[in-house]
Symmetry: C2
Subunit: 256 residues, 2 copies
């Protein structure tokens, strides 16, 4: 029997990638507070713990994607969607007896190092890649909320005997061809055009789905790893992702 995987935020960009690419291997329970145009999603709001607990009942794994992904989101939105939302997701899973949670964290938990190193850091220079053990250094309230989520995950893993994997996800584009990426729209502190950063942080749809699949399958009490494709200017260390999850990027930046 295929394992059952509940996914919050299933109407979002990564939700769509997982919904299509993981459907053959798992029985998916797609959840979101808004409907999706091209797939069936059960409507549930993270604000309501007991409703969420009902929605995830029977799942073997919870993949928690639902959050604001806007790095510039104001506090109120970060608080509701990412702080309270993460607690409700972990707690709903615990109450429902789910033994494995995959938490969509973000590279913005360490964005302060990137901010300090830009723009040289994007050239893949001689600085060592950031590993998972560097102290949190969020670049935004959004990043702070993801530090919170990772800490919550560690607490649930230690105290509530749940296996937790936190994925510090790179840049997933709507159009999976990175040469179509917009050149504007990056973080305001970024000195160069956005396409420079994307060459360091791009995560293809196929690699994204593989990363989550590896996280779902991994037999590990707690892990935090980075997720990025094989890009020329990579500055995050993939050693942990390979060692703990068996993840290796399959997609390479075009022409490199």
């Amino acid at each position: 029997m295929r394992r059952r995987v509940a996914i919050t935020g299933a109407a979002g960009r990564i939700g769509g990638i997982l919904a299509s690419r993981l459907a053959a291997d798992y029985e998916l329970i797609l959840l979101d507070r808004v409907p999706a145009t091209d797939r069936d999603v059960a409507l549930v709001d993270l604000a309501w713990l007991m409703e969420l607990r009902q929605a995830v009942a029977g799942a073997d794994v919870l993949v928690h994607l639902a959050a604001t992904s806007d790095v510039l989101a104001p506090w109120e939105e970060v608080l509701e969607s990412n702080v309270v939302g993460a607690y409700h997701a972990f707690e709903a899973a615990r109450m429902a007896g789910i033994r494995k949670i995959v938490f969509a964290s973000s590279n913005h938990v360490v964005g302060g190092y990137e901010r300090d190193g830009a723009p040289g850091i994007y050239q893949g220079g001689d600085q060592p890649a950031l590993d998972e053990d560097v102290s949190p250094r969020p670049d935004s309230l959004y990043g702070v909320s993801k530090v919170f989520g990772e800490a919550l995950g560690r607490y649930y893993a230690d105290v509530h005997d749940v296996n937790v994997v936190c994925l510090r996800i790179g840049t997933v584009l709507a159009d999976d061809d990175p040469t179509h990426a917009p050149v504007d729209g990056g973080p305001s502190w970024m000195p160069g055009p956005w396409d420079v950063r994307i060459r360091s942080t791009w995560l293809s749809h196929r690699d994204c789905a593989a990363l989550f699949a590896r996280a779902i399958e991994a037999d590990v009490r707690f892990a935090t790893v980075y997720g990025v494709s094989d890009v020329p200017g990579r500055f995050w260390d993939l050693e942990g992702a390979e060692r703990l999850l068996g993840y290796r990027p399959a997609d390479r930046w075009p022409g490199t």
Copy 2:
């Protein structure tokens, strides 16, 4: 002219220690949501950002103590007092133009290591002391909220040009004579009586006040350090506290 130091949570235990021991060196603005019996405290609730901003106006430094300090506090209390409260404190300080924030964090941000190492860890065995660079491993929702506060501090330091010192405070007793410490009442996971833990974590009133004074004076963009007296079973590293703040414990556990 003496510098002005605003203190939230001034009606609490550590607030009382700082109110009496720092009054000679600083002009103190004592704030709490409840009155104190033996000192004048201006009433302000962390829930109200603009009220808090008014209350800290004119201060040079904010010492943010206000929080639930109950390791077993339920989520609703942790969320309101420690998560929203910390954000309001940092944001009020920023809006008021305060350039230095001292944040009362907790050793419970790394309590998972202690939990793993107990009871041997209290014997001061051969394991290396925990330094400030170990990954967060909170033992409670309370501990998770303090990881959040430290991450918020790092964000304000990096992005809003405020100097921030986070103090991972040890065990401060109401009765400063540690031999009077109760033998029960410790965390439920602790295998031995509480007095065993206190011999590893005690922070005397004098050392507590000195630690905060050092943090107020330190010229450092961001620091996270432990605060503990000279106890026989210490398992937190004080190297950072000495190097970054110039803190050294003056008080030694009786008879050692």
